[in-house]
């Protein structure tokens, strides 16, 4: 009876439900009832961490369904890091596979938006590009200038029309706000952090092309041309100024 055997026996009991070897370490068979508590604590801790990271998913599918999903997910992708704030990077993909036949086939899109919110929340405090940083550039230099999205920013394209649904279910005091119908419709959404606040913006087609081009490393000039080609009604200077004013670019 040594410590190494104890550790493996305990993990076999908690994860695999095999309590035989652990019996040698317990004072009495009654003591093994505690294994159930540790198994519950473990799964609940994982579920709580995922619910904290994916709150809109939690509200939309409900506690019971969420815990079932979390219990399955933790077997596939258990956490390695001791900080659970970022746990569940693969959760949207997992939900994508699991949600095909469910009543919420759009749930993976909601999860991606939750993930982008989390990434924005914990991203480095890098400085944002300010109007003064580029004020000295003339229009020709500006067109050749590359600006990158702020490290807190994620540019997402959804398969389903989920932006409103996601927002309604992010609020801390929201009850489950389950829509009657969500239909397939692509949406482009930018999520980033500005002065400590997480911002989100449903992008117009021109904005989606513009920000997508900038994120891909193109210059302001070529991103603007691409945006105008994609949607004639887009006013590139206005969208750039608005994004600049709300700290969406990296300094």
């Amino acid at each position: 009876m040594n410590l190494a055997d104890y550790y493996t026996s305990f993990i076999d009991a908690v994860c695999g439900g095999v309590t035989g070897r652990l019996g040698a370490f317990a004072v009495s068979p009654e003591g093994l009832r505690g294994v159930r508590i540790h198994r519950n604590n473990w799964i609940r801790a994982m579920s709580a961490a995922l619910a904290s990271n994916y709150p809109a998913v939690f509200r939309l599918i409900g506690e019971s369904c969420f815990e079932t999903a979390a219990a399955a997910f933790v077997r596939i992708a258990p956490p390695r890091a001791r900080c659970l704030v970022g746990y569940g990077l693969e959760f949207p993909e997992f939900l994508e596979c699991a949600a095909g036949e469910s009543s919420t086939p759009y749930i993976a899109d909601v999860a991606r938006l939750d993930r982008a919110w989390l990434e924005a929340h914990i991203a480095p405090d890098d400085a944002a590009l300010q109007p003064g940083d580029i004020a000295q550039l003339d229009s020709s230099s500006l067109a050749k200038h590359s600006v990158r999205l702020h490290p807190s920013a994620s540019l997402l394209q959804t398969t389903w029309r989920v932006h409103d649904v996601w927002k309604a279910n992010r609020l801390d005091d929201a009850g489950a706000n389950v829509p009657r119908a969500v239909w397939r419709e692509r949406q482009s959404i930018l999520i980033w952090r500005s002065s400590g606040e997480i911002r989100d913006r449903l992008l117009t087609p021109a904005e989606a092309v513009f920000f997508g081009a900038l994120a891909g490393g193109e210059t302001l000039g070529s991103a603007a041309e691409a945006a105008i080609r994609a949607a004639q009604d887009g006013d590139v200077s206005v969208m750039f100024a608005a994004a600049l004013a709300s700290n969406a670019f990296e300094r």
Partner: protein, 278 residues
Amino acid sequence: MTALPVRCGIGLRPVHYRAALDCDADGLWFEVHPENYMVSGGPRHSWLEAIRSRRAISFHGVGASLCGPEPLEATHLARLRELIDRYQPTQVSEHVAWSAAGGQYFADLFPLPYTCEAARHLINRVDAFQSAIGRRILIENPSAYMALRGDMSEPEFLGLVCAGAGCGLLLDVNNVFVAANNLHLDAGAYLDAAPAELVEEIHLAGHDRDAAPGSLLLIDSHATPVAAPVWDLFDRLVRRIGPRPTLIERDAAIPPFGEMMTERARAEDVLVSRAKAA
């Protein structure tokens, strides 16, 4: 490094950041789980910096897997050290438990048998942990749900480890009550046997009954107010060893900040009355 005030603190939760920062109560201090701040940036660091600028804080780790089978995790130690350098917590503590195996983190506090082998193992681990983070720590007695064979009682085990590793003891009165209920022990006798000179902090929290039909187990849920018998045990402990920095913990079903302050006031009454009596 100065010591924590011998007053009652509150476990800091993000939902209370604003109220915690605005609160002007005398002697109030806060405890945080450093794992929740192991992120690159963002508002939670801004809040903690603001609160740290006004209050003493303690780091109460939950992720070190201090009693675990594998070497202490290097990344975790490095991130903890960074946070300690940044925030200069007045106190650092961890649990007498393990929570990781095979590279997987379980986020639960698994028990250790109180054997001589386990005591030697934990002494070495606490020693390595303290060296890695550059701070002396307190170790906390765990809740218990299963009686394991061992060579000694929990107070004896904790005393041995503290002496061997040069660490102090964080005595969680709710954990004593929960463990005593679940393992059919005498919580009062446990507290009377706890080595007074080693106790440098006290924790108070709530528990729940196990929901399984027929179960008499209590769960250390931190989801309810401190229970009446735990208040009685706290009074008994402070009467014997004198006041110590005390913390009210709540990690789930978190009430408004004002309710936490009401519980704090009750603990403060005990600490102040015992300080006067001494």
